[in-house]
């Protein structure tokens, strides 16, 4: 484990911290590896009845900036989409209340993660959105949880436009439950919420979450499979390859200029 994602344990609250701050917690092979391992630990703790609240936050300036560009240029996109889809599904089916603390940008894959959480609190620098069509990537994988979590209309506008939403706008469409004026207020509110949830009965919360999943159609695995398939269908397209190469070339040129 490279500690690009870490899990902290304070029974019955577990906290998963995305921990690649220099790369704005972009989802890379290593971040995925460690994130998945963290979730394994969370699931083990849930099974042994020592966890029923999961808090997720990011270290550094961003919550999560989406997929790692370099890795995508080297053919990682299909596997990244599969791993992201699987994590979203795990978060939704986890028998714990999942609380996201979003202090900075949560974009593309990062926004997908947020949409799969149960309760989202956002800070002043939060930004949500899917600026990915310009890369030739479809954010369809996120729709399994984004559509029921917001509304069909809001999800359509957000994914198709590529626009960014701030914390207040995210609250308006239902993607976030609360917006906070500063980082300290965000952290305090999430801590208070997690402590309250921790004091509640695990079986009651589990039953409530399960029925919510049934009501909004996410109890079923089919919607996750279909959403992933829609993104995967164009993950090896020429359009994507051309566009990602162009983006990487631009990035290289910028780095060379700086040197």
């Amino acid at each position: 484990m490279t500690n690009k994602a870490m899990v902290q344990f304070d029974t019955p609250i577990m906290t998963v911290v995305l921990n690649d701050p220099d790369r704005r917690n972009a989802l890379s092979h290593q971040v995925f590896d460690d994130f998945e391992q963290c979730l394994d630990e969370v699931e083990t703790a849930i099974d042994s009845e020592s966890c029923h609240v999961l808090r997720i936050r990011g270290e550094g300036p961003a919550f999560c900036a989406g997929f790692d560009l370099e890795a995508m240029a080297h053919g990682a996109l299909p596997s990244f989409l599969e791993r992201l889809g699987a994590i979203c599904r795990r978060l939704r089916h986890l028998e714990a209340v999942v609380v996201a603390e979003v202090h900075g940008p949560a974009l593309a894959g990062g926004c997908a993660l947020v949409s799969a959480c149960d309760i989202v609190h956002a800070g002043p620098d939060a930004a949500f959105g899917y600026p990915v069509h310009r890369l030739g990537i479809s954010p369809a994988v996120s729709l399994a949880t984004l559509v029921p979590g917001t509304s069909p209309g809001a999800a359509r506008a957000l994914t198709l436009s590529g626009a960014f939403l701030d914390a207040d706008a995210a609250v308006r469409i239902g993607l976030a439950a609360a917006a906070h004026p500063d980082r300290a207020a965000l952290e305090d509110a999430v801590t208070t919420l997690c402590d309250r949830l921790a004091a509640m009965d695990a079986a009651t919360l589990r039953a409530t979450k399960r029925f919510q999943n049934e009501l909004d159609g996410t109890a079923d695995g089919d919607v996750f499979v279909a959403s992933l398939a829609a993104s995967l269908a164009i993950a090896s397209s020429d359009e994507f390859r051309t566009r990602i190469e162009r983006v990487i070339a631009k990035k290289r040129a910028k780095e060379t200029d700086r040197d």
Partner: protein
């Protein structure tokens, strides 16, 4: 104003022109929903369902300082089976309110908590005031709010409902309006007049057209899905009957 005899004082039903008002009338208990109260609502609903002359709109109201403080579980604290039955019957009453052929308006003053908030959002419209106290603190008490979840999801959307029901707690009238629990927010001293003015406006619509629209809306949003609505009540009922939940409630009632 006509008063229709329901053979009970726990709920009253009056008509005034095009407006019928069904009033929860147990003000000393903040209109908490006891088994008797739910039974009285069933009688009132039967009268409304069988048709009231000239009526075009139904207002659901509570007498006294509060609209409805939720389920009166304390009254049946020694009988978990009965608690489960109350939840099932509340779900059935909610379903009947939803399916009335008249547009419905909840007029909410003071508290609309738990099952009371459930009654508020099952109505087509709900009027509240800034000092109102709204929400679903069920999970705080170790009770599963599945019984109220379906209509909350239909009112405010699944994402917002998920966060609200899992986080528990209550909120003021303004936050409730922002969250979509209330469709209208007015000053407390204008609550009654504003509700009546709105009801009178609704009453001007063609009753057949309104009925057709409401029926189609109910079909579209799953309000006719008996299986799903019953399942919510079953989940809540089963959970409340467990020894764990009963122990928590006993501690709560002792306070």
């Amino acid at each position: 104003m006509n008063t229709i005899d329901l053979q009970t004082e726990l709920v009253t039903l009056t008509t005034d022109g095009a407006i019928a008002t069904l009033t929860l009338n147990r003000p000393d208990a903040r209109n908490a929903l006891s088994l008797e109260m739910i039974a009285a609502m069933e009688v009132g609903l039967e009268k409304i369902e069988s048709g009231l002359d000239g009526v075009a709109v139904v207002i659901l109201a509570g007498a006294g300082k509060s609209f409805c403080a939720g389920m009166d579980l304390k009254a049946v604290q020694d009988d978990p089976i009965l608690m489960g039955d109350m939840l099932r019957r509340l779900a059935a009453v909610s379903r009947r309110i939803r399916r009335l052929d008249y547009p419905t308006i909840a007029r909410v003053q003071g508290a609309a908590i738990g099952g009371g908030c459930g009654l508020m959002v099952v109505c087509d419209f709900s009027f509240a005031h800034p000092e109102a106290k709204l929400g679903y603190p069920e999970v705080d008490l170790g009770i599963c709010p599945a019984v109220v979840a379906p209509f909350l999801v239909k009112r405010i959307g699944a994402g917002k409902a998920r966060a609200m029901l899992l986080a528990g707690g209550t909120m003021g009238g303004e936050a409730g309006f922002d969250a979509g629990l209330a469709t209208h927010l007015v000053a407390m001293d204008e609550l009654e007049s504003a509700t009546i003015a709105f009801a009178e406006r609704l009453a001007k619509g063609g009753p057949e057209a309104i009925r057709a629209t409401k029926r189609w809306l109910n079909e579209l949003d799953g309000s006719l899905d008996d299986e799903q609505l019953s399942k919510g009540a079953e989940i809540s009922a089963e959970l409340i009957q467990t020894e764990d939940a009963q122990a928590r409630l006993r501690t709560l009632f002792k306070r």
